[in-house]
């Protein structure tokens, strides 16, 4: 058994590294670059019942150590995802985590019900944290009661385990996490993007046509680590961590904080080969840290445990 294989609800992963939703489309583009079967899983782009165009451009802007995006959940819609994108992905030996979005509870339920029936969809990721749409999205993710109810409704119709993706734009992340756990979530994925903005001096106007956007990339990593550190101590469902991961070392930091797997978003744009690179580098790093298996590292920063073996970079 490899030191990287991980079992999570619904997911039997060869390794705990996967591209984050929205940063990898439905895999077609990256499949030109490397064999997608190398990946632990793929979190595909958010899917809504109807096709969406999303927000006007510009949709991205660079920030110090990060980027803003306001794609606005552009996607080809449930039917096309179910009948074209997911079947196309079946050629790879990789479980799919389908990211579900919508404006209403019914939207979520509808998409969840159908996508959970796709043979290669092994888990759903409930996106209650998209900051770039007018209705739905983040509204569900900042109100614990709404989050709980939505989770419950989706759980009722889903054939596969449900992970809920949390928004960092909240006063009390633990409260939301506990609410969705209570609603029946099988796992959490965190964090989605922080709300941010950049203004162009030239025009005096926000760079993004949508004005605000979601902040991602290395600059948000300390916020993600802190939230996972807090939440993992208060819930008993596993967490897939993300937010600023660039390297195998970063993945380990997320595990130490309390994550059981890790997703890479923005860095796919900076280095399109980052996921296979990290997967390559992880085993040696795990060994250097004195662990036999990466899962031993989950939550080490707060669990009572022997000190890690000395780390030599």
């Amino acid at each position: 058994m490899s030191s990287l294989s991980i079992r999570l609800p619904g997911l039997n992963l060869k390794n705990p590294v996967m591209p984050a939703s929205g940063c990898f489309g439905f895999g077609r583009e990256f499949s030109q670059l490397y064999d997608l079967s190398l990946l632990g899983a793929i979190m595909v782009k958010a899917t809504t019942p109807e096709p969406r165009f999303g927000n006007p451009t510009p949709r991205v802007a660079e920030t110090p150590g990060g980027m803003l995006n306001a794609i606005g959940l552009q996607n080809p819609g449930l039917e096309k995802v179910y009948h074209e994108e997911l079947p196309w992905l079946e050629q790879f030996d990789v479980p799919i985590i389908a990211n579900i979005a919508g404006s209403t509870e019914d939207d979520y339920v509808k998409v969840a019900e159908q996508l959970s029936k796709a043979p290669n969809v092994h888990a759903l990721e409930l996106n209650i944290s998209c900051p770039n749409v007018k209705t739905g999205g983040i509204a569900f993710g900042t109100d614990p009661e709404m989050a709980r109810t939505l989770t419950k409704k989706v759980k009722e119709v889903s054939d596969v385990p449900v992970y809920v993706k949390l928004s960092p734009n909240v006063s009390d992340i633990v409260k939301i996490a506990k609410a969705v756990e209570d609603g029946g979530a099988d796992g959490l994925t965190m964090i989605n993007t922080l709300l941010g903005m950049r203004i162009d001096l030239m025009t005096g106007q926000p760079i993004l046509a949508n004005k605000t956007g979601g902040l991602s990339g290395p600059s948000v990593k300390p916020v993600a680590i802190r939230m996972i550190y807090e939440v993992s101590q208060y819930v008993s469902i596993p967490i897939i961590g993300m937010g600023g991961i660039q390297s195998a070392e970063d993945v380990i930091e997320f595990f130490l904080a309390g994550a059981s797997a890790a997703a890479v978003g923005t860095q796919n744009f900076v280095d399109p080969f980052v996921c296979p690179k990290i997967i390559d580098e992880l085993p040696e790093l795990v060994t250097r840290l004195g662990a036999d298996h990466i899962s031993e590292l989950t939550g080490r920063s707060w669990k009572k445990h022997e000190r890690l073996a000395y780390y030599r970079p």
């Binding site: 670059l33 969406r52 165009f53 999303g54 451009t57 110090p64 744009f269």
Partner: protein, 259 residues
């Protein structure tokens, strides 16, 4: 085939006000063919800046495995690029996107190549390839003012060149469209790259039987995965059908997408 390669800077020199030409060498040139394709460049290791920068391929030299990019020193990324000296390296992802369909033009046909500012560079490789195929090339290039003019001589090797400057300090005062109106030629093909208002005017002007336009948009991935760079299609201008500038474009036929 898209590849990522740490290329070596062969040369990097200023050729006009704030305009630099950099020659890079690497095996990545083996995959370069179409004029109008671009590379996505990481100008510095580490965080600052984080994202890659899209820059058009200005010319390809297959024999010595080198290619040229021409860029305007503008923000942080291009400023750092301008500081690179020969022997240093640049991380390049490419070639990306679909360029100008040079092969569609038949020997003996006429093509008007229109470039505005840093839209001029891809016209250089395009002119080379067209002229090599026996196409009659006419270049119309526009700049802000005299100091910003570049590639006039280079393009002149392949056909007539008309230059405009917005302030009239060089060539004809005005915009490229002022020349086009007067040219009188009906071209078989029009190829253009430059600021969006220029592209719109060219689309409306119908200066040739077939017109191809190269678009610009802020990009994330550069390969079609992030949906940063989409535009509406002309047939469904408010709907959800779309094209990605990075992977479906950056070159589109006039009328294909909303610009």
């Amino acid at each position: 085939m898209i590849t990522q390669e740490v290329c070596t800077v062969v040369s990097n020199r200023q050729i006009a006000d704030s305009i630099y030409a950099m020659v890079l060498s690497g095996n990545i040139t083996d995959a370069m063919d179409q004029p109008g394709q671009f590379v996505h460049v990481k100008v510095a290791d580490g965080l600052d800046p984080l994202l890659r920068r899209p820059i058009s391929i200005a010319s390809i030299n297959k024999e010595d495995r080198s290619f040229m990019i021409v860029y305007r020193k503008q923000g942080k990324g291009t400023s750092l690029l301008a500081e690179k000296q020969s022997g240093m390296t640049v991380d390049v992802l490419g070639p990306l996107g679909n360029g100008f369909p040079a092969a569609e033009v038949k020997p003996g046909q006429t093509a008007i190549l229109i470039g505005g500012g840093v839209g001029v560079p891809p016209m250089y490789e395009l002119a080379k390839q067209l002229a090599r195929n026996g196409v009659k090339v006419i270049s119309v290039i526009g700049f802000q003012s005299e100091g910003a003019v570049f590639f006039e001589q280079e393009l002149a090797r392949f056909g007539a060149v008309y230059v405009t400057t917005a302030d009239g300090t060089y060539g004809r005062k005005g915009f490229v469209t002022d020349i086009l109106g007067d040219l009188g030629t009906t071209a078989d093909f029009v190829f253009a790259c430059g600021p969006t208002p220029m592209l719109r005017a060219i689309e409306n002007g119908q200066y040739g039987a077939k017109t191809y336009l190269s678009l610009e948009e802020r990009m994330g991935c550069g390969i079609g995965a992030c949906f940063a760079c989409v535009c509406h299609t002309k047939e469904d201008p408010k709907g959800f059908s779309y094209k990605k500038v990075c992977s479906d474009g950056p070159v589109f036929q006039a009328g294909e997408v909303v610009i």
